[in-house]
Symmetry: C2
Subunit: 620 residues, 2 copies
């Protein structure tokens, strides 16, 4: 209060000058190119109505199984894209095509997204996702933000240490967190060290058809593979994996998997392995090509790293890889050049499960005392690294060349991963960093015993970091990638493909065909009606008999931006959306007689409420 | 640029003084009580990291079936609360209790939320939800943000015109959008006018047990009931419903349900109906008490209203009700006093489906020319109404007393409902209004052919309105309510109830019991381990035989804020979360032999990755 009065006095004297100052302030506010330092934090994160964010943040949705797409710097959630779990809002997993793609899975655990790359930089074509819960990988087409393929992968359990894509998207590698008996046959835990294996899958994307396939798999020791990164530049052709539980414990891992002072970074030559497989050096197992690097040595090496490392991150130039020892106060920076030298000289300090262990001292570049619980590292464009400290609840900025800590910033709370603008590519942005925090606790209005996760937006454009914004995030962002908005080129309306199977493009052509007990409805959705049978007195009604199978083939002929229709059947537990110009098929069993209203579930016009019809099921 | 240089010059001279001014500015920024007019829009919506929003916005999630909880003014999505659809992230619909509650439904269409009221004001105890897709109502406990009960309601189709709660939460009324044959037996559309009925359900909340039950149902004409509101103050004891399709069309409603110049507002005396039912004046139908107001006249009246009204909204004092004629350029304000007078005097202009129609001219107070496509109205604390104009893409502010339009504000685009702070209660807030727009189109970074819906945040504290913020919203907010944050009192940790069924509170007490082919696991989850059997060498492993049924009863004994554990079974398509102090049961069939890793799916500590175990299924 006293302070206030003093200031008022000062201000009285300054009144005239203040007008000028306020004018300056206003002018500055409307200048979007103003130096960030002149802006308040509110202004830094504010994206005015109608204006667009500069970046997409693509966050894994963890045990929701879905992808969450945010805008930066506003941190507004733009869209939940269904990937590994059904989505009632869009009918993902309801219509025939996506139902087949999900294949009965009601849940997934989407851990790490990986945007496709060209020359080590995000190219905005696709995003790859991995499912730790049910051992799958997915292709998300970034032109439509549709999941276009889901690949079920045999012989593995929990591809946590994935996805990482190679610099030209040749492969997506999926090492696993859980080792299981090779070939999936039952084997007791007493034979763990001999018969359990960590199997890494090499998955090949097909950018023509927007699909994935398993190229081959690689047998690795029965350890837990945690995180990974692809080599690039100096290390192109190689991959790096962090491990824990090299103790090969099978119970109470909290204690038993933390006994060794050092675990390993696995470095492997994927170009060489690919050639070996190409040359026929593999065995078939459950339909995949299984490569055993013990039988064909020279492609897999181990580097000792501080106790239970979480992230292993390759620097933008590819010359170093950094292991974050989550139970050690340091991150360790290794030299790729030194590692190659050690391999050439067979400078090994021992072996583990048959693989050579490079001599630590020969490969290490520096150990950096960053703080407690380092988990994951990203990079800027000025030679700095940013590492999350889970236990200290901080992000630490440190210089790659000097190994000196430059700054620390508190986040709320317990950060796991972090994502900088294109911060894991060959060409990081250097302006924004998002800390993906595991605990939100008291940060937002409470929603009961369960809290959301949280994201802190950090301005890293200056020498020191500053948290300028905070947003709850949906469960559970394990990793995220931030891509320049101008790299994403979306389709707004699907092409009118006259040859498309089951499509009807004119209202007059809508008709119903019966084939035994199968009733095929070739219908359209348009503002503001369904037309199932143009020649009927009730064109928006479908009459069938109890016991029939009804196939609704519906085309949304409104080819206008943002005019999506939905089709729900009341009391029938079915709903699906049809985007502008899209055709979808929903198959339902008419197993109960009755009157079931059909209605548009996605608001489309002032007469949306009138966009209704009926499924009439006559008794047998 | 020139301007900038001039200002720089001025500033050079002022440098010393500026220090003082900046000090003042900083001080002022941290003053939360600063007059809103002095703040930039960025500042108005900014909630700094660590600070809390002032209000909860509870938005229906439409065809997602879920509740979306946002904070205002930041418009950050805090939580998706699962209500009518399964939720893989939390395991809602996976564990035994919620699986039984969802009863096989994979989809719902949550239209209108209704926060419980005391004396006509939100009391923050519960939120009621209705499912247009599958004819259900739900009780969401706002102490835990858990859905505690789902009620399947017979004899109805599409409770769109709901939920509205009476001023002391005596009842929740659910009139329907679709009329169907009474008793659900198959009847052709040719008998629509005679045999189809719109059935309204009176649902009674039980605040002790957090449950709902159907008190009785009321037979109404075969029209579409769109929106509703409860009387209060002068109109306490009455309810108001809007109707369309009083034409009783059964096909191509776009044309056929828009023929009459006027449809009706249904006003009904729920206190009288409740007494009639209490007195035994009902028939049993599919287990509910069905009241027919034609047989017991005097409780239901019709008021002519402009063509196809959408919202019907009762003013804060309860003295008027306002019908928004979506196909008319006006909203119509009716007088409750005049309506009562007309009823007393039998001042009827006719009848429809056996119900008296009050004389329009006797009941109308004023017609207000608001603009095109008026849909829904909310109120402030200064005698003003705010109506969405779907076609004009505007919100219009008009004065209740003068009937004059005060201001119009563009929104983006095509608003359906709108929500003001406690704007449908007896005591509206008057500072913020959120327009729930159906079309986002170009407002955010594109995510393909499908766009989110959008919300515009409007500052209504001044004479004119101003859109100050915009956020994408998740599918599809049909209605939302905004409640003062201090009215919500959440539980952070569940009580340690020693008598709770299936709970184990000490690690040492974890054990496994076999009962024939049923294996009961009484286990605990804690940082950072599962203990299923304290006396086993592998306390975190469960070994069963192929063909067994395994019941995991798991208690989270970490009774600390925000320490939720999850339990996923790899390759088993199962996951569920256990909040602090909670006990849950998951039942799985061990129908395939093999090794299935169990792991914590909800990050809980630095050793979360080590929180694993096994389900070992031995071959038969």
């Amino acid at each position: 209060m006293t302070k206030n009065r003093i200031i008022s006095g000062v201000l009285g004297v300054m009144a005239g000058l203040l007008v000028t100052v306020i004018f300056f302030a206003d002018f500055n506010q409307s200048d979007n190119t103003a130096n960030a330092d002149n802006k308040s934090n509110a202004q830094k994160v504010y994206v005015a109505p109608g204006e667009h964010d500069d970046y997409y943040l693509m966050a894994s949705g963890g045990h929701s199984g879905q992808l969450f797409v945010y805008g930066l710097p506003s941190m507004r959630l733009i869209r939940q894209v269904p990937v590994f779990s059904p989505d009632p809002a869009t009918g993902y997993g309801f219509d025939d095509k996506t139902k087949e793609m999900l294949n009965g899975y009601k849940w997934g655990d989407f851990h790490h997204p990986s945007i496709s790359e060209t020359d080590g930089e995000y190219d905005g074509r696709a995003l790859f996702a991995t499912d730790v819960g049910n051992n799958r990988a997915a292709y998300v087409d970034l032109e439509t933000f549709h999941t276009t393929d889901i690949l079920e992968i045999p012989n593995i359990a929990g591809p946590h240490c994935a996805a990482f894509v190679t610099p030209d998207s040749e492969y997506l590698f999926l090492p696993t967190r859980f080792s299981v008996p090779l070939g999936d046959e039952f084997t007791g835990l007493d034979e763990y060290s001999e018969k359990y294996k960590g199997v890494m899958s090499a998955v090949k994307p097909d950018f023509e058809n927007n699909t994935l396939e398993v190229a081959y798999q690689v047998i690795l020791p029965p350890w837990a593979y945690d995180l990974s990164d692809a080599g690039k530049g100096a290390s192109d052709g190689w991959g790096f994996l962090s491990t824990y539980n090299t103790e090969e414990a099978t119970t109470t891992l909290e204690i038993n998997a933390s006994k060794n002072d050092r675990d390993y970074i696995v470095m492997f030559d994927w170009e060489q392995i690919s050639e070996e497989v190409e040359a026929g050096n593999y065995e078939e197992l459950n339909g995949t090509k299984m490569f055993d690097p013990i039988e064909h040595p020279g492609s897999v090496y181990l580097v000792p790293a501080p106790k239970s490392p979480h992230g292993v991150d390759v620097t933008p130039d590819g010359a170093h890889f950094i292991a974050n020892g989550k139970l050690s106060p340091t991150t360790t920076m290794f030299s790729v050049e030194k590692a190659f030298e050690a391999i050439k000289n067979e400078d090994f300090q021992g072996e583990a499960q048959g693989f050579p262990v490079l001599t630590y001292e020969s490969v290490v570049d520096k150990e950096v005392e960053v703080g407690l619980g380092p988990l994951h590292t990203q990079f800027d464009d000025k030679g700095n690294a940013y590492t999350t400290l889970f236990i200290d609840s901080q992000v630490v900025k440190w210089n790659l060349e000097s190994g000196k800590v430059v700054d620390k910033e508190e986040v709320s709370y317990s950060p796991g991963h972090l994502a900088a603008v294109e911060g894991d590519t060959a060409n990081p942005g250097g302006n924004w960093l998002v800390s993906l925090n595991k605990i939100a606790k008291d940060q937002y209005l409470s929603v009961g015993p369960s809290h959301p996760e949280s994201m802190d937006l950090i301005d890293i454009s200056g020498e020191t970091m500053e948290v300028v914004g905070s947003a709850p995030s949906q469960p559970e962002p394990h990793y995220a990638q931030i891509i320049n908005a101008d790299k994403i080129k979306t389709t707004e309306v699907f092409e009118k493909d006259e040859g498309r199977e089951n499509a009807v493009w004119n209202k007059e052509d809508a008709h119903i065909e019966r084939d035994g007990d199968d009733v095929h409805v070739y219908g359209i959705a348009m503002r503001s009606q369904f037309v199932f049978d143009a020649n009927s007195e009730s064109p928006d009604a479908v009459t069938v008999k109890e016991g029939d199978t009804v196939h609704f083939h519906i085309t949304n002929i409104d080819r206008d931006q943002d005019i999506t229709h939905g089709m729900g059947i009341n009391g029938y537990n079915e709903n699906f959306e049809i985007q502008p110009g899209e055709t979808k098929t929903l198959t339902v069993e008419a197993d109960e007689s009755g009157t079931f209203p059909i209605y548009c579930t996605n608001f489309c016009s002032a007469l949306h409420q009138e966009m209704t019809g009926y499924l009439l099921v006559e008794p047998e």
